[in-house]
């Protein structure tokens, strides 16, 4: 079973706020599923290369150019931003 401290640590890494109640629920739910994941311990993968791209595609390239959405397009994008100041996305103070 994952400890309360572990759940709080994961929640902070995941940037998800949790209440006391949530912590207990996650302890139960996550532990159950992680136990299920243990099934993979049975499999011997010595010498097996992990999958990168499933059909084996290698690097793909395109020219480093941006798409111009135009003024109208820019407006449409900025409409979705929760807080804007002078045409910029406003970020909360960090400290």
């Amino acid at each position: 079973m994952l400890s309360k401290e572990e759940i709080l640590h994961i929640a902070t890494l995941a940037r998800i706020g949790v209440s006391e109640q949530d912590v207990e629920k996650y302890q139960h739910d996550l532990s159950e599923i992680l136990d299920y994941f243990k099934k993979l311990d049975e499999v011997d993968v010595t010498g097996v290369e992990p999958i990168g791209h499933i059909t084996g595609m290698q690097n793909t390239f395109r020219s480093d150019e941006h798409f111009d959405f135009g003024e109208l397009g820019k407006e449409e994008i900025m409409k979705n931003v929760p807080e804007v100041k002078e045409g910029f996305i406003k970020v909360k103070s960090v400290l």
Partner: protein, 493 residues
Amino acid sequence: MLHVTCFMIRDLHQKLINKEITSVQLTEQYFDVIEKNDAEIGAYLTLTKKLAMQQAQFVDEKIAKGEEIDLIEGIPCAIKDNICVDGVRTTAASKILDNYIAPYDATVIRKLKECGAVILGKTNLDEFAMGSSTENSAYKITKNPVDTSRVAGGSSGGSVASVAAGQAVWSLGTDTGGSIRQPASFCGVVGLKPTYGRVSRSGAIAMASSLDQIGPIAKRVEDVAIILSRISGQDLLDATSAKSSDKKYEDYLTGDISGKVIGVPKEYVESLEGEIKNIFEKSLEKFRTLGAKIETISLPHSEYALPTYYIIMTSEVSSNLAKFDGIKFGMRSDDNVDSDINENALPKKLLETYLDTRKIGFGDEVKRRIMLGTYALSAGYYDAYYLKAQKVRALIRRDFENAFKTVDFIYSPTAPEVAFKIGEKSADPLKMYLSDIFTITANLAGVPAISFPIGAIATDGKELPVGGQLMGKWFDEEGMLNCAHTYEINTKK
């Protein structure tokens, strides 16, 4: 006027060019059906009437001028709400995107618009496509049109139900572990997951990037083939997309599968019982009479597919959903409501905004998967979980490579069950995950797969559909579609 909801794409195309009906009339009829039955079914989240009528009028003008139109031109469809349509609200059925208006078209939408498709609206799904029943939508539950006390399946439950309920001729869904095929099986329609890389995902809201594919849903195999021809192809905006082929998949539906070898994995069918087993065996018999050879095969790593899938999927989910932070777009938690998370005073700082926004904005299953994936990727656990899973995945792919040395297709039921009752599994995530047991391997191995109706089980006075699933070799959609098509035309009246 013609009652149109029973026709297929080719029939409707003929009626449009013969001027038996206009695209505007056709579109209006579909909106009428939606108005009549969607309060009960709950397939749509947003209707795009203005856009649809504009598209329909444009097509009608072309027809009036005697211009040639594409097969799908002027024909109404529905789009899963995790695929961006320019200027249209796109929520992924999450509160965190409640007010998000897509500022561009997904590549598949651009292609469909170029072909003149008429988009009726955006359909419901499990939040961010995470679920197998469409009960995880933050907005509503989509019900199975065959029996509204049962789930439509998921996560593309809205897209599938819209087709099954006659609210759209065809629709687009996304499939990460069976999200097109399992609901198609539950609702008695056809659903296709193409080969990984066949269709660009640019503009689809990513769930697990090494598994996600976009695919079509319709009432007939030919219709999904017609749609696939129009949405596939390489795209600079999706670096994983494969080289284009200019195949018209509908041209490969010869109705002849004599000499083809169909492999039945013993690991899948061993546990089948009851009516599903009978229906499945009858369908095997049918394939035999159509000239195919049936062989029992083994996919020895099948029992590891589900844990492998859930490790890879949740890890990629935790990474893909990091962008929903309340800063750049989407919902943000109220600055003036303090949460009990940090002791900090108002106004909230950056970290508290993240924590609160994601706590409020995401539903339970989404948070559970982000937490799992974060754990699996965290320092000290990466090798044991994600890396290990990607190695087991290589073994699963090897199973398929070996099988396809001797067989052309792999065949099983799509799901080990028929549509279950609403609420029956929602309390137990592990039990819900087992619903995907036959479908996830196609995503892990990257092969194409299709679900199509093979029978029905009478339950509570309803005929609950059962789907069969064919998996094909990488990039052999045409062979697989022809096999399903051949079955269909020899069984459907």
